[in-house]
Subunit: 357 residues, 2 copies
C-alpha cells in the first residue's frame, strides 16, 4: 500500500497500440489507420483505385455504357449479429446485399464502396477473415471494392463491426425495372426456397433451443439475374425479399403499382427443415429474411423461358411460379392457403428478428 | 406482494411502438420502417428517386458527361460525438464530408446516398432536425440524396446515430487531380484558418474547462473548388485536412508523390482564439481536424489567379500560400518554425481526438 491511489486499477483501457485488437488510434486518420488499411483492406481488396491512396476513386465507365443507359446506385448498412453464421458472415452479406439491390434495378453491378465502423477491442484476425470473405464474394459478383473508410468508436459504443456498402451499376438502355411496373396478368416467380437466412442466423445466436443444419442463402445474384433478363427481357419488377420477407416485398410492389397480387401457399418453395423450425418458433416464413432470393414479375408469355433460364443455374434450381398480378384486390396481397381458404397477407408491422442483416 | 415474480421490474424495454423515440421495429423493414422513412427522410430529402420506393435509384447522367470524363466515388462513415456542436451537426458533416471528398478529386458532386444506423431510444425529433440539416447542406452543395437505408440496433449497441454517406460525381475530361501529382516547384496553398472543427467539437463535449466561441468550419467546398479550378486549371493535388489535420495530409501527399513539402509556420492561418485553445490544451493545431478547408498544390504560374479566385468567396477569404514542393527532403514534410529553426512534421501516429468526424 502506498499513499497514492492506484490509478491503474481505476480504469483499464486497452493499450494505445495493439497488433491483435482494434484500438482508438486505428481510427485517427494517421499512421495507425494507414497501417490497418494496408494490412487488412489493401491485402484483401487491393486494386489500383484503392492503392492510389486518395479519399476517392475515379473510374472510367466501360465504353459500351457511355452512349446510353443510366447509372444505378444503392446503399445498405449491415448490423447483423453474430458476425459469422452458417453459410456466411457480415462481409459476404455486405457485398451480396448491395450487389443484389443493384441487380434488382436491372443493373449490372460495377463498383462497391465499403465503410467500416469498428468497436475498440475487435479482433484484427476476425476483421481480416471478414475482409477476405468480402473479397471472395466481390470476385463471385464480378465487382471491385474501390473506395472505403474506417472509423473506430470506444468499447460499448458499437457492436464489434458495422459495414455500410454502396454500389454503382449500369442499366443498359431500354431496361425499365421498378416496383411500380407490375401489370395486370403478369406472373410472379420466386427464385428459390424461403426463410433460410433468418433461421440460420437465429441458430447461430443460440436462440433456437434445438439443432438445425439450415444455412443462410446469402449470395450475390448477378449471374442468375443476367440469365433471367436474357430469357425474359420484358421483366417488369425484381425485388429481393430480405428484411420483412416475401410478404413485405409483395406488399411493397402492390402498393407501388396499385395492383393486387395473388399467391398460393402450396406453390411457395420452402425446405422441410426450415418449415419445421418456423413452426416450432411460431414464425410465419413469409416474413423471415432471405439474402439470396428474388421475386420476378413479368409478362406471362416470357414465363417459360424465365423458369428455364433460372433452373439452369445452381441458385435458381428451385425457382417457380407462385402467383399472379391482377386488379381484383388492388393494393392487396392475398394467398390461397393449403386448406383452401384465402387470406390477406399484410406487410410486416413491427420487428420479428432484429439485426438480421 | 404476490407469489409471482414481478417480471415488469426485471426488464424495462422501450415500448414496441413509439412516435417519439426509435424502437427496434423501426428497423424491421416492414410498415414501421416505411412510416419512419416517409415521416423523416422523405420529408427532408424528398425527390422522385427516393419517392419511387425502390431499393435503388436509377439516374441519367447529365448529357455533357456522357461522352467523356470519369466517374468519381467516395464514402465516409460518420461517428462524431456529440451529434450537434457549434457550427454544425452530424448531418451537415455527413453531407459536407462526402461532397468534399468528391471535390478533392476535381469532381463535380452529383448524387449522395445516406445509410443510417440508429440506436434504440434515439429521439425522432432529433433525427428530424439532423435530416433537415442534411437537406439544407445538400442544397448548398447542389447534390441530391437519392438512396438510403435505415437500420436499428438495441440500446447500448451503438451511440445514438451513425451516418454513412457515399457520393458520386463527375470528373470532366482532362482534369487529373491526385495525391501523387505534386511536382517539384509547385506551390502549396491552404484555403483558410486551421483547427476550428476539432476545437469546436471538444468545446461541445465540455472537455475544454474554459469558455470559447470557436465554431466548426464544416461546409461543402464545391463552389470554392469550382472557382479555384477555373482560375488554376492545372491544379495537381487537392486534399481536405480532416482527421489527422494539415500535418497528416501533407505527409500523405509527400508519400504518394515522392516529393518533399516545405511549409512555414508563420504563413499558416489560424484564429487567435483557436491558437490559444490549442496552447492551453497542449494540442499542435497542425494535427487538429478541419471540415471546411483544403490544401491545393499547383504550378507557381497559376498561384496568383488561384489566390484571387479563392479570396472572392467567403469560404476562401483567408486562403494563402503556406509552402512549396521540392526534392530536397523527399517523402518528408518540413516546417520553418516561428523562431527560425526547421523541424520535421510527422504524420499523426495514434489518436488525439477520437470521434471527431
Amino acid at each position: 500500500m502506498t499513499n497514492l491511489p492506484n490509478f491503474e486499477n481505476l480504469y483499464c483501457p486497452l493499450p494505445l497500440v495493439s497488433k491483435s485488437h482494434i484500438v482508438l488510434g486505428h481510427g485517427s486518420g494517421g499512421s495507425m489507420t494507414h497501417n490497418l488499411i494496408k494490412e487488412v483492406f489493401l491485402q484483401a481488396f487491393g486494386n489500383p483505385y484503392l492503392e492510389a491512396g486518395n479519399d476517392f476513386a475515379s473510374i472510367p465507365l466501360p465504353k459500351v455504357t457511355r452512349s446510353k443507359g443510366r447509372l444505378t446506385i444503392s446503399t445498405d448498412a449491415h448490423v447483423i449479429t453474430p458476425l459469422q453464421f452458417p453459410g456466411g458472415d457480415i462481409g459476404r452479406l455486405a457485398v451480396s446485399g448491395t450487389v443484389n439491390d443493384i441487380c434488382m434495378s436491372g443493373g449490372i453491378p460495377l463498383y462497391l464502396t465499403a465503410a467500416f465502423i469498428l468497436e475498440e477491442g475487435l479482433s484484427i484476425d476476425l476483421l481480416k477473415e471478414i475482409a477476405f470473405s468480402m473479397k471472395r464474394t466481390a470476385e463471385e459478383a464480378e465487382v471491385q471494392i474501390i473506395a472505403g473508410d474506417t472509423k473506430v468508436v470506444e468499447k460499448g459504443k458499437a457492436d464489434q463491426l458495422f459495414i455500410t456498402t454502396c454500389g454503382v451499376g449500369w442499366i443498359p438502355s431500354g431496361r425499365e425495372i421498378s416496383g411500380d411496373r407490375a401489370q395486370d396478368g403478369d406472373v410472379v416467380i420466386l427464385s428459390g426456397e424461403i426463410a433460410e437466412h433468418g433461421i440460420a442466423v437465429l441458430a447461430a445466436r443460440g436462440d433456437l433451443h434445438f439443432q438445425t443444419t439450415v444455412v443462410s442463402d446469402v449470395a450475390p445474384l448477378n449471374q442468375l439475374i443476367s440469365l433471367l433478363l436474357q430469357a425474359a427481357p420484358h421483366t417488369h419488377v425484381l425485388r429481393d425479399p430480405t428484411r420483412g420477407g416475401l410478404a413485405t416485398v409483395l406488399n411493397e410492389i402492390a402498393q407501388q403499382s396499385g395492383m393486387g397480387i395473388k399467391i398460393e401457399e402450396e406453390l411457395i418453395p420452402i425446405k422441410k427443415e426450415v418449415k419445421s423450425a418456423c413452426e416450432l418458433l411460431g414464425f410465419d416464413p413469409l416474413y423471415v429474411a432471405n439474402e439470396g432470393k428474388f421475386v420476378a414479375i413479368l409478362p406471362k408469355n416470357e414465363m417459360d423461358a424465365a423458369l428455364q433460364a433460372l433452373a439452369s443455374h445452381p441458385l435458381g434450381k428451385s425457382a417457380r411460379l407462385i402467383g399472379v398480378v391482377d386488379q381484383e384486390n388492388p393494393l392487396r396481397v392475398t394467398m390461397k392457403t393449403l386448406i383452401g381458404g384465402t387470406r390477406i397477407v399484410d406487410m410486416l408491422s413491427g420487428e420479428m428478428l432484429p439485426r438480421i442483416c
